[in-house]
Each structure stands twice: as structure tokens, then as C-alpha cells.
């Protein structure tokens, strides 16, 4: 049917079927800024201004827009112009992955047209219809206020950030003072444009770095703010078919018979694939280095399903509606099998055997559903416990949670003109996907190209080959481009999640407050597959036994199959589980021994020079003992404590509110320590090429999943080569054109890929010096790069454009270019201190988090804006982990939370005050002193909230999430005791 509407001020007619959503119709009409997120209007990524009001389009039929005015971000500005709202979002760091940014910009536009001078509360309310999983809405609120000021024509403050002392990153040597005057340039060259080089009387020495340490606008911020088609699904290749996935309604069943004939006969259906149609190749879907950790217990499509949501069949059809209809026509006869949903029950004799297939590789004990296990020992923990003056034993439970990136998993596959398979996919691990998919689809690696466009959030959920094999199989079967995207419900039923764990500590403490023994036992529920199970559990051990010095330690982890959706990688990767248990335990010990909780932790916390002996026993890349070389933990504790006014905790009057007698207040703290990359394993590479005008192409395999790593890597290259950031043109994550990188995980990109970039830049710099020496007839000694020029010690200089033209066109022609790789045996830990302030309703148990403050030592923050954004957004995700997020199941193992709302992530209007503080240190092994920042904000919120609840009402909650009922029950028990 024809839909007549006014689209961005212009009357237009678009075509849509009555059952189609306005979202689908707008995207098909080329309005790519309108994003698919949830299908139920709850995420708001698809929002437009409908007659001036922010409205989600996924819940509207296209026909409902007939006769109405629709505004999208495409209509905000023409061409290259940037609206003040877009400018403000870019400048403040409000754009992380950028998937929800167009909707947030429209929300801002709508607000500012009603209220030109909004309050922060009004800004939060305006943004509340758009869920942002990256930023925690902190910077978007700042962006709204800044945009309002810009629109009012006011001067706005520059974004803070002044670089870092240059000595700290380049050493103490300063360029010598040059003599003033004119000096001969590269004489004799016919094309030399400047035979004489002007030397300034004195160089103005920059006291700080020019690019590193400064709040540069993200290199992709403007295009994201303009809603340009940069994501996986923002293409419409000719002949595109639409895929759809049929999933199991049963938690455990064998497919006795499957009949796809009716589906195949449906007009418009081009392929229906079941286990009978694709080769059976065993693999593990986790995007990890070769060889993938065992067990290998998956195949693309199987005759057995192991969780409600497991793959059954996949369809390609002319339209999404036909594909969905085809799914309904596939007849499956299931033999329903007994299922088990509890990890401990799964290990008991007689439990259903989840993996009885004969071809799985590396399952430790099929009878006990034990995928694998880990054991690590330092010293003698039993003797240590026996020697201890006090012994504590506590058990903690952490739940299964979902990454909930706003962009669902989505993939487009097609044959290119050379009959090579192109996989355009929203992935964190393009190189792993290429290697891992090859045997599944029967193509050699060289016939596969994986492209990672911008990603609408990943958080570990896309460190996985989750759907690429199915999409590729459909293209192989149809010879047509195929698009496959999860629905939001499938994100909850059929994607990955954080491993739930039962963590039991036994801790021995001496009279003087020192830890003497720590025994940590973990039962990890890996769900139906063992993917990431071993390595996540390993990180749980590393993080649970590294923050505090202790001579005797033991870690044991059992990774267990159940009939629940498989867990996988999720930002923090085992650490949030460990930290909740560890930091709750430390608080409990401090309370029982009547020690100050901060003093007790500080007494035992590791510091510079301390070895981390557990790293000798645990580690994916091998056992490589780590030593702390940089540590700002005490400063983090002090600065964040001051920011939240920790001293209030000692005042009994502060804990109560006379006007609200049912409310109690509390403060909690958690120390945090994370890792940086996987030592001995993670590798990144970079290639830098100089262009005619002195600009550079920087090509990296590293995967920017919205964190800003492209920007950070470009900053490192720009700083090293003495050019502004906009002279560094970065291209990333394309297996045909960029060098290898393991991908975006394990907080590795700045440290590993950044060092590779720095090395490549240094090598390019050497080539520039050699060219300058050739042109100027002088040695390279003492040359340095600054302000787009190469400078000599005697004061002469050449522009990089002159260098490039000479090298490419004039003499001894060569391309100035270099590639470098980096792998580290060091994994320098970032540190942090997390504080939380809560209010607890003693009648209902409801916990309201009022404030979160985290200070982080991430070494040098290459870009303070993006680093702060990581800490703010990470705290917000972690807040959901603490109080609201939970993947729950009914008695049949079916997910009870298959939409946002049921699965509650925080919206802008309900956020507590969130503050992030950077505590600069210098990590000697990192690029410009940097170490990681991306994951550590996930670690401390849950224990800090639990400790704050304890402070408020004196009850200890040992399982997440901290729901009102858990607190209420604990209060009831306390009252009864």
C-alpha cells in the first residue's frame, strides 16, 4: 500500500505492507538512522519524531504514519553540516557505539524545541525513552545541556583535558634551541617547493603531549551522530534474502523427525536448512585464539536440542514476513528428554546427560555433565587455614545476565565478484570468525572475507561466532545475499550471557589482620555448551585470588553443563563474579574482626613490586607470573572516598531520615583490580602508510565496538608521528585489508594493539627521518616530529607533505610504510575503588542506589573522555547486575524475561548520580604508560551496593541481584533472630 507522509519536511510516498512496521518501511526507504533494537518500543533506538513527538517505530504499523510528519536525524542537517546537538554529542563523548545516538539526538531536539534551557532532570527525562547500554546516560545528559547552550548562542566551556607531561611519555630530553634565521633546505631538487627553510627564533616547546591524553572527539562520532549507514544492517544488496531462525521450545529433546517440506513449498522461500542439510563439524563458538579452548561440543545444526532457544532450523526468504511464516510451517517431532537446570544437580548421579553425542571433543566427564575443571595451588592452603587465627567460610551466588547490546546480533553474507564469501557482521572477533567458520562451511580461509562495520555494542556478547555460520550456509544454499538478525527475544533465549556461579571462600586471617590462606571453590553453570567456560572460570580464579597478598591459595572450578542457554563472554569475563564474592567476604571479615573495612583491605592489597603468585598457576596464555609495576589503588580509594563523602558513614544521624522513618542510608566500598589482555596470547598488529599530503592511513585489526578504540589507536599514532588526530585516517577490522588482531576482548586493545600501533608509528618515523636526512643532507640523530614537521637539532624543518612528495615522486622513490605486531607477557592490572550510596526501605526491602563513584588507575588515559565514558557506562551496567538484571526461567527452562522491561536495564531518568575519576599512573610496559580501563568498572558496584545495604540495615545479601524481596527476607530473619 502507498503511505503518504511528510518525511523530514518533504512530502513522500513510501511503499509498505499493512503488517509492516514503520521501522521496516523507513529503513527500506533509506532512512538508516532508524535502528532496530527490540520490537517492543522499549529500547527506543528506532524512535523518530512523529508529529514532533519521540515515538518508537517498531511498534507502529507503517500505515499509521499516513498523513503524518516524520522526522529523522537525516533531516536535521544537510550535507556535511553538523547541528549543534550533533556537535555537543560528539564533543562530550556522548557517542560511544552510536547505535542509539540518532534517537537520543531526536529526543534532544524535541526537548529543546519545548524547553530551550532545560535542567539536567529534564534532559534525563527526555532521554529516558532511549536505552543506552554504553554511556549510562551520563554524557548524553551533558550533551543535551551543551546543545541547549550552543543553540542559545552561548559560549561553552572547552572539554577538559590538557594532555600529559611530555617527559613522562618521551623521556626528559628536549629538542635543542635552534638558531634563528634561514637555512638551506633540500637544495638542488627541481620540485622542491621551498629551497630555504625558515627557522623560528625559538621553538615553543609543548609542555604536554599534543594528542595523547587529550579529549579528542572520537573519529567516528560525527558520522554516528548524523546517522550515517555504518552498521552491519545498513546495507541492502541486490537480491537480499531475509533469514530467520527456528529455535527449540524444549530445554532438552531429541528431534525424532523434522519435515520442512511445507516451508520449502511456501512461495518466496529459497532455503530451509536443518541438521539434515549441513555438514556435522564439531566446534566451539567462542571467539578465542587458536586452538580454541575445549570442549568442542557444538555443531551448526543438531538432531538434539539442549536448551529452550537452541537452534533447530534456519530459513531464507524474500521478505522477513515470509521467513517467519516458513518457520511456522516446519514440523518438528520432539522426543522430550528430562532436563536439568541447576549445576550441582547436573553433577549428581542419574542426572540427564546433556552431551551424549559421540563426536564431542574434550568434555571432561560426560556422566557428571562436567565440561571441564580447573585446579590451581599456591603454597599449602590447608596448612595455611590450620595456622590461621581466624577462619571464615562464606558462599555467594551470582546470576546469569545478558549483555543486552542495543544492536542485536546481525550478519549479512554474500558472494563477491571473485566468488569469495563476504561476511559483514557485528562481531568483536573478525579474524577468529574467519578462521573458525572456514571448516564449518567447507571453504578455505582465503575465500572468506570478514568485515566488521561499526558495532552497536558488544560487551563480550559478540566475542562469539553466534550466527555467521548459519547465515553463510544460507548464502551457500541460495547463492544470494542473506541477512540474518536475532529478534530481541532471541537475544535473551539464544545468545550468550554471563556465567552464573556459586562461589565458596574459606579464608584464614592472622591476628594482625593479614590474610594467610584463601581457598576459592567455584561451581560455574555454563549452560548447554562449554563455550568460554574454562577461561571465564580461570579469570574468576585470577581475580578472586590476586587483589590481596596471601601466601597460601587454592582455586578449584567446576564448569558444568545445564539445559539453559549457554553462557559466554561478558564484559568483565569472570571478574564481576569473583569480585562480588571477594569484596563481600572482605567486608564480612572486617566487620567480624571489628576492623575498618578500608584499612583491612589496604593492609592486604597488593602494591608496586608485589608478585601475583596465582598467575603462576592460572592463565589462558600459559602460567606467566605477573608483577605489579604501577598501582594507584591508594589514591583511588582516597579520591573516590572523598568524592562520596565516606566520612558520613560514621555518623549515625546520617543513616536515618526523620521525614521518612522507613528509610535507612548506607555507604559501601569495594576495591577492584582487573587484568590487561591475556599475557602470552593476545596479539595485535598495525600498519601505517604515509600519503602525499603527509597524512597517514592507519590500518588495524583491532575491533572498535563503540569504546573508542579506533580513536585511541589513532591518537597513539598521531602523537608518535607529531600530527593532529585528523591526519590519521584509521581503517579497522577487515580481514582482507587490515593486519591480524585477536579482537576486542580482555581489555587488550589499548595496551596490545596500541603498542603495535606505537611501534609501527615509530618505524614510520624512522623512515621519515631517513628521508629528511636524505633531503637535508644531515644525519638522523636528534630529529624529532612535531606539528606536521620533522625537525633537526640545528633548527631546520621539513613538512611531512614535503617528505611524502619527495619519497613518492622525487628521489629513491619508496612508500613510507611499516607494519608492527605486539604480544605481551605482561598483563598490568588496572586498579579501582568503587563506592556506592544507597537508601533501603525497611518495610519493602527496596534498595535505591543514590550515588556511584569510581576512581580508576588505568595508567595514562590516552583519551580521558572515552576513558571516563567507559567508567561511567561500566558502572551503569554493573548497577543492573547488582539490583535488577537477571535471566530467569520457568520450571521447563523457558526464559521468563524475553524483552527489555522484564529484563531491566537502567534508563536515563532513574539513574543515580554517577561519577568517574581518573587517577593517572604510568605503566612502564604500556603505550604512553597506558593500561586497561574497559572492564574494571564492571567489578565493584555489586559488592559496594551489598556492603552499603549492610551499612544501612545490617543484613548481608550474598546473592545477586539484590532484589527487594531478598532484602526484605533478610530483614525479617534479622528481626526474628
Amino acid at each position: 500500500m502507498h503511505i503518504n507522509l511528510t518525511l523530514n519536511g518533504i512530502p513522500r510516498q513510501i511503499e509498505a505492507a499493512p503488517e509492516e512496521s514503520l521501522l521496516e518501511a523507513l529503513r527500506r526507504a533509506g532512512l538508516w538512522s532508524v535502528k532496530h533494537g527490540c520490537d517492543t518500543g522499549e529500547c527506543g533506538a528506532c524512535s523518530v519524531l512523529l508529529d514532533g513527538k519521540l515515538t518508537p517505530t517498531c511498534v507502529l504499523h507503517a500505515a499509521e504514519a499516513d498523513g503524518r510528519h516524520v522526522h529523522t536525524v537525516e533531516g536535521l542537517t544537510a550535507g556535511q553540516a553538523v547541528d549543534p546537538i550533533q556537535q555537543a554529542f560528539a564533543e562530550t563523548g556522548a557517542v560511544q557505539c552510536g547505535y542509539c545516538t540518532p534517537a537520543m539526538i531526536l529526543a534532544t531536539q524535541s526537548l529543546l524545541e519545548q524547553e530551550p534551557n532545560p535542567t539536567p532532570e529534564q534532559a534525563r527525562e527526555a532521554l529516558s525513552g532511549v536505552l543506552c547500554r554504553c554511556t549510562g546516560s551520563v554524557r548524553p545528559v551533558q550533551a543535551v545541556l551543551r546543545a541547549a547552550a550552543l543553540r542559545r548562542g552561548e559560549e561553552v566551556e572547552p572539554i577538559q583535558g590538557e594532555g600529559i607531561p611530555i617527559q613522562s611519555v618521551f623521556g626528559a630530553q628536549e629538542p635543542p634551541e635552534p638558531p634563528a634565521g634561514e637555512h638551506p633546505g633540500p637544495g638542488g631538487a627541481d620540485v622542491a617547493t621551498r629551497p630555504w627553510v625558515t627557522v623560528r627564533p625559538a621553538l615553543q616547546e609543548a609542555p604536554t603531549t599534543g594528542v595523547v591524553g587529550r579529549p579528542e572527539v572520537k573519529v567516528d562520532a560525527v558520522k554516528l551522530a548524523k546517522g550515517r549507514p555504518v552498521f552491519t544492517d545498513d546495507v541492502n544488496p541486490p537480491g537480499l534474502l531475509h533469514g530467520a531462525l527456528l529455535t527449540s521450545p524444549h530445554a532438552h529433546a531429541r528431534i525424532r523427525h523434522i519435515d520442512a517440506s511445507r516451508a520449502r513449498a511456501l512461495p518466496g522461500v529459497h532455503a530451509v536448512l536443518t541438521y539434515q542439510d549441513v555438514p556435522r563439524v564439531i566446534y566451539a563458538s567462542g571467539g578465542q585464539s587458536y586452538p580454541n579452548p575445549k570442549p568442542w561440543d557444538q555443531v551448526s545444526l543438531d538432531s538434539k536440542v539442549r536448551f529452550a532457544g537452541d537452534r533447530v532450523a534456519v530459513v531464507a526468504a524474500e521478505t522477513p514476513e515470509i521467513a517467519r511464516q516458513a518457520l511456522r510451517l516446519i514440523e518438528v517431532d520432539y522426543e522430550v528428554l528430562p532436563a536439568v537446570f541447576d549445576a550441582e544437580a547436573a553433577m549428581r548421579p542419574g542426572a540427564p546427560r546433556i552431551h551424549d553425542e559421540p563426536d564431542a571433543v574434550g568434555i571432561e566427564d560426560v556422566e557428571r555433565n562436567l565440561a571441564t575443571s580447573i585446579d590451581a595451588v599456591v603454597g599449602d592452603v590447608e596448612r595455611g587455614l590450620a595456622e590461621s587465627d581466624y577462619v571464615f567460610e562464606r558462599t555467594y551466588f551470582v546470576q546469569q545476565v545478558q549483555q543486552a547490546s542495543i544492536e542485536p546480533h546481525v550478519c549479512v553474507t554474500y558472494w563477491d565478484e571473485d566468488d569469495r564469501l563476504v561476511i559483514r557482521t557485528s562481531t568483536q572477533v573478525p579474524f577468529h570468525v574467519r578462521r573458525m567458520i572456514a571448516p564449518l562451511i567447507g571453504l578455505p580461509v582465503k575465500r572468506i572475507r570478514v568485515i566488521k562495520p561499526r558495532i552497536g555494542g558488544g560487551f563480550g556478547g559478540k566475542q562469539e561466532m553466534l550466527m555467521e555460520d548459519l547465515c553463510a550456509h544460507l548464502t551457500l544454499a541460495t547463492n544470494r545475499p542473506v541477512r540474518l538478525e536475532y529478534t530481541r527475544a532471541q537475544e535473551f533465549t539464544s545468545a550468550r550471557s554471563r556465567h552464573p556461579q556459586k562461589v565458596t571462600y574459606r579464608a584464614g586471617v592472622m591476628q594482625d589482620g593479614s590474610l594467610h590462606a584463601m581457598d576459592m571453590h567455584v561451581i560455574e553453570d555454563s549452560g548447554a555448551f562449554g563455550v568460554h567456560g574454562l577461561t571465564v572460570c580461570s579469570v574468576t580464579g585470577l581475580r578472586g585470588l590476586a587483589t590481596y597478598r596471601c601466601p597460601n591459595m587454592h582455586f578449584h572450578g567446576d564448569i558444568v553443563y545445564t539445559n539453559k542457554p549457554a553462557a559466554g563472554a561478558f564484559r568483565g569475563y569472570g571478574a564481576p563474579q569473583a569480585e562480588f564474592a571477594l569484596e563481600s567476604l572482605m567486608e564480612e571479615i572486617a566487620h567480624e574482626l571489628q576492623l575498618d573495612p578500608i584499612a583491612f583491605r589496604s593492609q592486604n592489597a597488593v602494591t608496586i613490586g608485589d608478585p601475583l603468585p596465582i598467575t603462576n598457576a592460572l592463565g589462558e596464555g600459559g602460567a606467566i607470573e605477573q608483577i605489579v609495576r604501577s598501582c594507584g589503588l591508594p589514591q583511588c580509594v582516597e579520591q573516590a572516598g572523598r568524592a562520596i563523602d565516606w566520612e558520613r558513614r560514621a555518623d549515625p544521624r546520617w543513616h536515618v531520615d526523620p521525614a521518612r522513618p522507613h528509610i535507612r542510608r548506607g555507604l559501601g566500598v569495594a576495591f577492584c583490580m582487573h587484568g590487561t589482555a591475556i599475557p602470552g596470547l593476545d596479539m595485535g598488529a598495525a600498519d601505517i602508510k604515509m600519503n602525499d599530503d603527509g597524512s597517514f592511513n592507519l590500518m588495524v585489526g583491532a575491533t572498535d565496538l563503540g569504546t573508542g578504540s579506533d580513536t585511541v589507536l589513532a591518537q597513539i599514532a598521531a602523537e608518535t608521528l607529531g600530527v593532529p588526530l585528523n591526519d590519521m585516517l584509521i581503517y579497522s577490522s577487515d580481514t582482507d585489508f587490515t593486519p591480524f588482531d585477536t579482537g576486542a576482548y580482555a581489555s587488550s586493545t589499548t595496551y596490545i594493539s596500541g603498542t603495535a600501533v606505537k611501534r609501527a608509528a615509530e618505524q614510520v618515523g624512522e623512515q621519515i627521518f631517513e628521508r629528511a636526512a636524505l633531503m637535508l643532507g644531515c644525519p638522523t640523530d636528534g630529529m624529532y616530529l612535531r606539528d606536521r614537521q620533522v625537525h633537526t637539532p640545528d633548527g631546520r624543518s621539513l613538512s611531512l607533505a614535503e617528505i611524502a612528495l619527495h619519497s613518492l615522486h622525487v628521489q629513491d622513490q619508496r612508500q613510507i610504510q611499516s607494519t608492527a605486531s605486539y604480544m605481551s607477557v605482561y598483563a598490568p592490572p588496572p586498579f579501582g575503588a568503587q563506592y556506592a550510596e544507597v537508601e533501603v526501605d525497611v518495610e519493602t526491602g527496596q534498595v535505591t542506589v543514590k550515588q556511584l563513584v569510581m576512581a580508576v588507575d588505568c595508567g595514562t588515559a590516552i583519551n580521558p573522555t572515552t576513558a571516563l565514558g567507559q567508567i561511567e557506562g561500566g558502572q551503569t551496567q554493573a548497577l543492573g547486575y547488582a539490583v535488577s538484571e537477571e535471566m530467569a526461567y520457568d520450571a521447563q527452562g523457558r526464559s521468563m524475561a524475553q524483552r527489555f522491561g522484564d529484563y531491566r536495564i537502567f534508563e536515563a531518568a532513574e539513574m543515580p548520580a554517577v561519577q568517574a575519576i581518573l587517577v593517572p599512573t604510568y605503566e612502564p610496559t604500556g603505550p604512553f604508560g597506558a593500561k586497561a580501563v574497559a572492564e574494571i568498572p564492571m567489578d565493584g558496584v555489586a559488592p559496594a551496593v551489598a556492603n552499603a545495604v549492610w551499612d544501612a540495615v545490617g543484613v548481608r545479601i550474598r546473592s545477586l541481584p539484590i532484589t527487594p524481596e531478598k532484602v526484605w527476607r533478610a530483614l525479617q530473619e534479622k528481626q526474628a533472630a
Binding site: P18, S21, P267, V883
Partner: protein
């Protein structure tokens, strides 16, 4: 195998056309979104009826000083309405605000909120506590009046005859309060309670947990003593029959029904006595 048949989309120009479409054979769906909509692709319909031309988007006084809210009025309009912010201490505005975030409040309409069986309870509770009536248009009757609780009961029984025209609120000074418990401040309520007291102090109290049956209690002015409040709380605890889920067990919900009943009643009476 036949190809997929698209549903028919209609925008009736008048009531007769709308009612004819509703009565026609096949599955007809009124395009009235609630604040908790299901994905469009799960909708099983032969006919989609869009009521946007029937002028049902209003909040206005009717004769007799009764406030009327048109069935196609968005929840955001209800939340922002100056008239409703005055009514019962802004109870209805607060309830509409609590129903969803901004975008969905713009997309959802009153008729959709009342039609949803699994939607957020606040707005329905507020209307029940206020003693709202609904006006239906049927083939037989231009303005068929029902109490809201009767209307909800007939819908639960599967009766879909007639189209909701508007909701009418009682005239006179009223004093309301909304209480809820949830995982986060704007999360869907685990349990919610709305209370409205009239100028004499007579109180209506409505309670619910998400997608569960609603409980309607009434109390006379003497109930404002602490003992009577406790009695009201006890009545709420014993009368409600909640189902438990991962957000709260049945036992917890019963206990919260008591707490929130007491709080809502106390707040409404306090507003009334302080007026």
C-alpha cells in the same frame, strides 16, 4: 501452498464504519497500543482498524464537571495534562508516567492501556481507585456506560463487543496516592497500590502486582486511625491472591500488598485532611 495474506488496514471515517469493521468476519485488531506492546510480527489479524479519525484524543470536562479522557489519548498527554495533574493530587498523571518511558508513553493510548492483560498496573489502579466509568460505543448503543471494573471483567471474559470511547472520572474533590515497589525506580511494579479519598474521607483502594488480578477495597473515614490502617493492610494481605515469579514470590507480594495498602491509604487521607 498459498502465499502469505496481508491483513487489511482500515481507517474508519465514522463510528458506523468502525463498528461494521469490528463486526466483520475474521480477526479484527484495534490499533490501540498499550505501554507494554508485543512485537507487531506476533499479531495475528485479518484486519487492522486505526481509530485515528474518530477524534478520541482529548482530556476535557464534560457536563456535570466530570473529567473525560478519550480512548485515543496518549499516556504522555495524560502524564502532562494540567487538568489531570490537579485531579486527585496528580494521581492519574503520576500513574501514566509510571507506565512506561517517554517514547512508549507517546505511542501508547488509554484504550490500549486498559486492553492490555499483562501491562503495567498503575494507570488501571489509579482509575479503579478513582471510581472511573467507561463509555462504550456498540452497534446497539451510542454511549453504553460501565464501571471500569465491570469493563475489565467483561474483557477478561473475552467480550470484545463495542469500542471504548472514553473514561469518565467522578466529579468533586479527590485526593490520591500511588505506592509501588520495584527493582529500580522506574521498573515495572512488583506490587502497586493506588488510593483515592473523596472530600468526606471515604477511600477506594486498588492493588495489583504485574499482570495479576486487581483487588479493590473500600474504607470509610474512621479507617484513618493507625489501628484501622493496620486492619486495611491486613485485609489487603488476606484478600490478594498474587502469583510469584522471579521478581517476587507470592508471599512477598502479599506482604507488600499490606504495606503499600497502608501507605497509599495513609497518604491519600493525609492529603484529604490537609486540604
Amino acid at each position: 501452498m498459498s502465499p502469505i495474506l496481508s491483513p487489511q488496514y482500515d481507517r474508519p471515517q465514522n463510528w458506523q464504519e468502525a463498528l461494521d469493521l469490528l463486526q466483520a468476519s475474521g480477526r479484527s485488531v484495534l490499533l490501540q497500543r498499550g505501554p507494554h506492546p508485543d512485537p507487531i510480527y506476533t499479531r495475528d489479524a485479518d484486519r487492522l482498524i486505526d481509530l485515528c479519525l474518530l477524534d478520541l484524543d482529548y482530556i476535557e470536562f464534560h457536563p456535570g464537571s466530570r473529567l473525560a479522557i478519550g480512548a485515543q489519548t496518549s499516556l504522555q498527554s495524560i502524564a502532562q495534562s494540567p487538568l489531570l495533574q490537579q485531579y486527585a493530587n496528580g494521581l492519574l498523571a503520576e500513574a501514566a508516567y509510571a507506565s512506561a518511558a517517554l517514547g512508549l508513553r507517546n505511542a501508547a493510548v488509554l484504550g490500549g492501556a486498559l486492553a492490555e492483560s499483562d501491562g503495567p498496573p498503575e494507570l488501571v489502579l489509579a482509575l479503579l481507585a478513582a471510581g472511573a466509568e467507561v463509555i462504550l460505543r456498540t452497534a446497539m448503543e451510542v454511549g453504553h456506560t460501565l464501571t471500569l471494573d465491570n469493563y475489565l471483567a467483561t474483557r477478561r471474559a473475552g467480550d470484545r463487543t463495542g469500542i471504548l470511547v472514553e473514561v469518565l472520572l467522578p466529579a468533586g474533590e479527590t485526593y490520591g496516592a500511588l505506592q509501588r515497589v520495584a527493582r529500580t525506580p522506574h521498573d515495572q511494579a512488583i506490587v502497586a497500590a493506588a488510593a483515592v479519598a473523596d472530600s468526606s474521607g471515604r477511600l477506594r483502594l486498588a492493588l495489583s502486582s504485574w499482570s495479576q488480578e486487581r483487588l479493590l477495597l473500600e474504607a470509610a473515614p474512621p479507617g484513618r486511625t493507625p489501628e484501622a490502617l493496620a486492619g486495611l493492610a491486613n485485609q489487603a494481605r488476606q484478600s490478594c491472591r498474587p502469583q510469584g515469579d522471579y521478581r517476587g514470590s507470592a508471599e512477598y507480594r502479599s506482604e507488600m500488598a499490606a504495606v503499600l495498602a497502608r501507605r497509599a491509604a495513609a497518604a491519600a487521607w493525609q492529603a484529604q485532611s490537609g486540604a
